[in-house]
């Protein structure tokens, strides 16, 4: 019996909340080095995430590829919580041109985790886990976007990002041999669809020539719904009972990988030559977060003959879902880029005078207040405020040869996050998990190679 209840508890397992990888760790080294404060100042492939309107201001075709790695040291009561590191390939393309004389561009951005496209780790509702950082590292981020600049002072853009949800059914049938398992006569079937989930993003950018720009962008919410039906139909062979008929039916519904909608506004102050000072403020709608706990309906029909020692488990009781009650949050970000470090001959690329070698320097800071309330009941969704400091440097060779009239650049970034200690006190002294404190650090970085034409 208790095993069945444990199994039911398993089905009350929940998946993790997600914000996308770019949201937590940045996309592309330039933007990541400025702590993501580029809503008004991104015109490389990362603009597809930060503000698609910026794509229309790309001076030429750009092809980028890179890699990022983040070491996550997140602790509970001073012990590592086993949150996996984040690492993957980053790549993107920007292709600008003109349609009817209007500047137009499209772009593709991709973060491809090198350990899988998506990863879900299902746990019980009460299992302590870093809700915003665990498992998100293995979620693909893919977006396609386009932008136009109808007037010199305005560009607008938008696109779609792609995820996938699951609905399906499986069955196992046949005879399980309880004593000689490899003599079981079992077979299975699967009828499952990975369904597409698209969420939109739109943005605009206003350019104030000589001063800089302001930008705003909206990123849509997405849920990955799981709909699962299962049917086990067959017999269990027991030496004392012979064949015992069995029918087990299951329906499971849950929501996974919640990504909240966001609105970001940003300003890029560029009045000082070779210097950009950016400030972004992002509203993140975490209050819409729904419980990831699965809702289950299950029934079992197993009737062994009298006197046969087979425990017949009962059908699991419905799960009492505890609402997570997350809060919205505002995330301020500050980023700085200095482009004055350059030497070598002067050359003109896309009507702009540049030097042979350019070494842009970047830095940034972001503060993300935790959207997770105190966990004083059954839930144990761990989170803490996060302070992130970033630095970055690049080296660009501008028009280094006749074959490459644009530039080739490599940008690197480093990111350090600290999550100060937070203590969770339980209301019940008999709580199975009890009181605990959490804290953590994250150290990461990456590099992006960009060939611009």
């Amino acid at each position: 019996m208790h095993r069945t209840l444990a199994a039911a508890a398993l089905l009350c397992a929940s998946s993790d909340a997600h914000a996308s990888v770019p949201d937590a760790y940045g996309l592309g080294s330039r933007s990541a080095a400025m702590a993501g404060a580029v809503c008004a100042d991104a015109h490389d492939f990362s603009a597809g995430y930060y503000n698609a309107a910026g794509l229309a201001e790309a001076p030429g075709i750009e092809v980028s590829a890179g890699y990022m790695f983040h070491d996550q040291r997140l602790q509970v009561n001073g012990l590592d919580n086993g949150v996996d590191d984040v690492h993957g390939l980053v790549t993107g393309v920007v292709a600008p041109g003109k349609i009817f004389g209007v500047p137009f561009a499209f772009g593709i951005g991709l973060h491809l985790p090198d350990s899988g496209i998506s990863f879900i780790k299902a746990r019980r509702q009460s299992t302590p886990r870093w809700e915003l950082y665990d498992a998100r590292q293995k979620l693909l981020y893919l977006e396609a976007s386009a932008a136009v600049r109808p007037w010199p002072f305005l560009s607008v853009g938008g696109g779609l990002a792609y995820l996938s949800a699951t609905r399906g059914r499986f069955g196992i049938r046949g005879t399980a041999d309880a004593v000689s398992p490899f003599e079981s006569k079992l077979e299975h079937e699967v009828d499952a669809d990975l369904t597409s989930v698209r969420f939109p993003f739109v943005g605009l950018r206003l350019i104030w020539e000589g001063w800089g720009a302001v930008g705003a962008t909206y990123r849509g919410q997405s849920n990955l719904d799981l709909e699962l039906d299962a049917l086990l139909q067959g017999n269990v062979f027991h030496p004392l009972a012979g064949l015992v008929p069995l029918v087990y039916e299951l329906e499971a519904r849950t929501i996974a990988a919640f990504t909240p909608q966001q609105v970001a506004v940003g300003i890029s102050f560029q009045r000082i030559a070779d210097l950009s000072i950016n400030f972004d403020l992002t509203w993140v709608n975490w209050s819409a977060y729904e419980s990831p706990t699965a809702q289950i309906q299950a029934s079992l029909d197993l009737q062994p003959p009298p006197g046969i020692p087979i425990d017949v488990p009962e059908s699991p009781a419905p799960t009492a879902i505890v609402p997570p009650d997350f809060r919205d949050r505002f995330v301020p970000r500050v980023g700085v880029e200095y482009r004055g470090a350059a030497f070598g001959d002067t050359r003109v690329v896309h009507d702009v005078e540049r030097r042979l070698v350019e070494i842009p320097l970047r830095a940034g800071y972001a503060y993300e207040a935790s959207p997770v309330p105190d966990q004083n009941g059954e839930l144990n969704l761990i989170d803490a405020d996060r302070h992130t400091v970033t630095v970055g440097v690049g080296v660009a060779l501008v028009a280094p040869a006749d074959e490459l009239p644009g530039s080739i650049a490599i940008d690197g970034h480093a990111q350090f996050s600290i999550l100060p200690e937070r203590t969770f006190l339980k209301d019940s002294p008999a709580d199975f998990v009890g009181d605990y404190s959490v804290s953590g650090t994250m150290v990461g970085g990456g590099a992006t190679l960009t060939v611009a034409f």
Binding site: H2, R3, A6, A7, L11, I61, V63, V93, A95, G97, F104, I108, L112, S115, G116, I117, F119, I120, K121, A144, A146, S164, T166, G168, F170, G171, I172, R173, G174, A176, A178, S180, F182, E183, S184, L186, E187, H188, E189, V190, D191, A192, D193, L194, T195, S196, L226, L228, A230, V244, L246, L250, A298, L300, L302, P313, A401, E403, L404, V451
Partner: protein, 431 residues
């Protein structure tokens, strides 16, 4: 039994991200111009089509292109006779496509020589369909195989002297997972469930050679596409469950499979006419079949007896499919070029007769296609390409002699036949 229950629950959860991916390009082709010419394109492909058919030909593109399109297909497939249901129901394909061509503006000796291309086919409501039914359930594998995202990218290089080479990849998803069930210290069953969607890749490489300029002469094209497998594999293991012994349970199978293949094509231009003759070899004998054993004897300890059923080799055969494509071009007005296209292909079935329990159905297919294209260019101020096609695939009637002695549910003749109708149109903008 209790463990069986637990495992059932666990499997349900494990399949929470279950998937497998089929590829529509193997069944319907790729690219609207190519699909109007019966999937020719290894020698005469243009634009986004070449990402799949022969990436070497990407290098012939000179303009930035962004193309979006709509693609659909319906299936009327039948299995009549002993124990068969008659018409089999399959969900129509409704898909959007996105393609892009990016000539990289290098200078010097690299000028106008290197071009990138990408192409996506995305079913409207499905990324991947993993539909592997019990063996005796009649199923046409081709109908579900189109329900998949297809992702392809490539790069073409013009080496000069009429030689072009290219390479790229096709990608789809596969699933690996693990479910571990064990009794914890408190006597409760504890379970960990992990599954990971991983990418599966296959290379695409190609080359072409032009005799003189292609506008007046011949071009040879050769393309190789690697084996592309969309496999799902969730393994359930149980330990410390008292007196019950549970073998590893494998919820595994191959829901999508494109064999490695070589396409050889010759293209010829005579005035306004373009002809393509293509033969594509497809190495189907490596196909393992859609379903795998739930209990694998390989997992059994050396001293254990294993009599669990193991799927047999499906016995697929290699095939060579001939394709013929024709295009006629005209310029009815300044800045306007139109094209009419047609084609025929014969796709032999690699599947053997199904006399026994399995009913994995497949027939020879006769593919007839029609297509059109409109290209607007200077001095027309709207740099657009519009292409469309209609494709009819007639499944040649086939008989299977079912025999209960070989495991069939009922003896007798099963007749299979059907029609697949596909159509689509795309708009490309050059800038």
């Amino acid at each position: 039994m209790r463990s069986g229950m637990t495992l059932g629950l666990v499997v349900a959860l494990a399949l929470g991200t279950q998937d497998a991916m089929p590829s529509p390009q193997e069944v319907l082709g790729f690219g609207y111009r190519s699909m109007g010419m019966a999937s020719t394109g290894a020698a005469i492909g243009e634009g986004v089509d070449t990402v799949y058919h022969n990436p070497a030909l990407l290098s012939a593109s000179r303009e930035l292109v962004l193309e979006v399109g709509l693609l659909g297909a319906v299936f009327d497939l039948h299995a009549d006779g002993a124990g068969m249901p008659g018409r089999l129901s399959y969900t129509p394909l409704r898909a959007t496509t996105i393609g892009a061509i990016l000539p990289l503006p290098f200078g010097g000796v690299l000028e106008d020589r290197i071009v990138l291309g990408v192409g996506f086919v995305t079913p409207v409501d499905v990324i991947v369909r993993g539909r592997i039914l019990y063996p005796e359930v009649p199923q046409y594998l081709l109908a579900d195989r189109v329900q998949s995202v297809a992702v392809q990218g490539g790069l073409g290089v013009d080496l000069g002297y009429g030689v072009r080479v290219g390479g790229g990849f096709a990608a789809l998803a596969a699933l690996t997972g693990a479910v571990d069930v064990a009794t914890d210290a408190s006597g409760r069953i504890g379970t960990t469930v992990e599954d990971t969607l991983v990418a599966s890749y296959a290379p695409i490489v190609g080359a072409s050679y032009e005799f003189d300029a292609f506008e007046t002469a011949w071009r040879l094209g050769l393309a190789f596409r690697g084996e592309l497998v969309g496999r799902f594999n969730v393994v359930i293991t149980a330990q410390d469950l008292g007196a019950l012994n549970v073998p590893p349970l494998n919820i595994s199978g191959v829901a999508q499979y494109d064999p490695w293949q070589i396409a050889a094509e010759v293209g010829h231009v005579v005035g306004a006419w373009r002809f393509a003759l293509n033969v594509t070899y497809k190495h189907w004998p490596a196909y393992p079949g859609p379903i795998e054993a739930t209990v694998r004897c390989d997992d059994a300890p050396p001293d254990a007896t294993c009599t669990a059923p193991q799927p047999a080799d499906p016995g697929y055969s290699p095939v060579a499919a001939p394709h013929l494509g024709i295009e006629w071009q005209a310029e009815p007005d300044e800045g306007v070029r139109t094209a009419l296209r047609t084609g025929y292909a014969f796709e032999p079935s690699p599947a053997p007769e199904q006399p026994g329990r399995t009913s994995w159905l497949d027939n020879h297919r006769h593919v007839v296609s029609l297509g059109f294209g409109v290209r607007l260019f200077d001095p027309v101020p709207l740099p657009l390409d519009v292409d469309g096609f209609v494709q009819v695939q007639a499944l040649q009637p086939r008989s299977h002699q079912k025999d209960t002695a070989q495991g069939a549910i009922a003896s007798g003749t099963v007749e299979t036949r059907g029609v697949v109708l596909a159509a689509g149109t795309a708009v490309g903008v050059r800038f």
